[in-house]
Symmetry: C2
Subunit: 114 residues, 2 copies
DNA sequence: TTCAAGCATCGGAAAATTCCGATATGACGA
DNA sequence: TCGTCATATCGGAATTTTCCGATGCTTGAA
């Protein structure tokens, strides 16, 4: 049984975490989407449920980004797995919104890692 | 001639910049290297020139990371193009060190973009 | 000048990512 | 119950990234 060695200021889990975030953001469209989600009502048309509460549905993101439906769905999954967005299913829609806590913690994670 | 439209809080150039940073960090080895460069003397053996001043030579990084010489050189180029490290050539060695200003500015860039 | 060390670049095989259309699932309305 | 809409997932072609060995360049010592 190997004894884990203390390797620095940041745990491996945190580094893996940061890596996932970087991979998720290492795509121009996904990075843009994150920007649009900062001010949803500025970038997306009105929809059934209030944008500011639940977020933006996949269809709106797909149209805005000019990508296929399947790609839009996959992109949002990638962002969600990285913890950058949260989702709520209401009826036939899945609404995505920024994960504010997580995003607010990123600068600190960055400062601690590089 | 198209008139550029104001599209939000962050310029396209800044987004491209952030994208390059994310791409550079979206690799486990490169991310690790950035961490090692925070405390070079803790992670690398002594070398001809003082680590704290000029940085770490490619050979040390290569050995620490367990990658080939060519890969080490390429990885450092990627990090440099993203602005994350600076280099100094002294004799036969190329020393790489963190770009402190740039790294210090990252949290703000991040906060402004997502 | 010659040799070796350190680094950068080239060429390419393998792996991962991108992004699509097709298809499946569940919700809603007629 | 059917058909439609929004979304998720599957399978795969195209592109990009990864990472290597081979090669070329520059420096410093002999």
């Amino acid at each position: 049984m190997a004894i884990p060695r203390y390797t620095g200021a940041v745990s491996n889990a945190e580094l893996d975490d940061l890596l996932e975030v970087c991979k998720a953001l290492a795509n121009p469209t996904r990075l843009q989407i994150m920007g649009w989600l900062r001010d949803p009502s500025d970038h997306f048309a009105p929809q059934a449920d209030p944008v500011e509460e639940v977020g933006v549905c996949v269809k709106q993101i797909q149209e805005k980004a000019g990508i296929s439906q399947s790609t839009a769905s996959q992109f949002m999954s990638v962002l969600q797995r990285a913890g950058l967005v949260e989702s709520t299913r209401i009826g036939q829609w899945t609404y995505y919104r920024r994960n504010r806590e997580r995003i607010a913690a990123l600068p600190e994670l960055l400062s601690a890692s590089l």
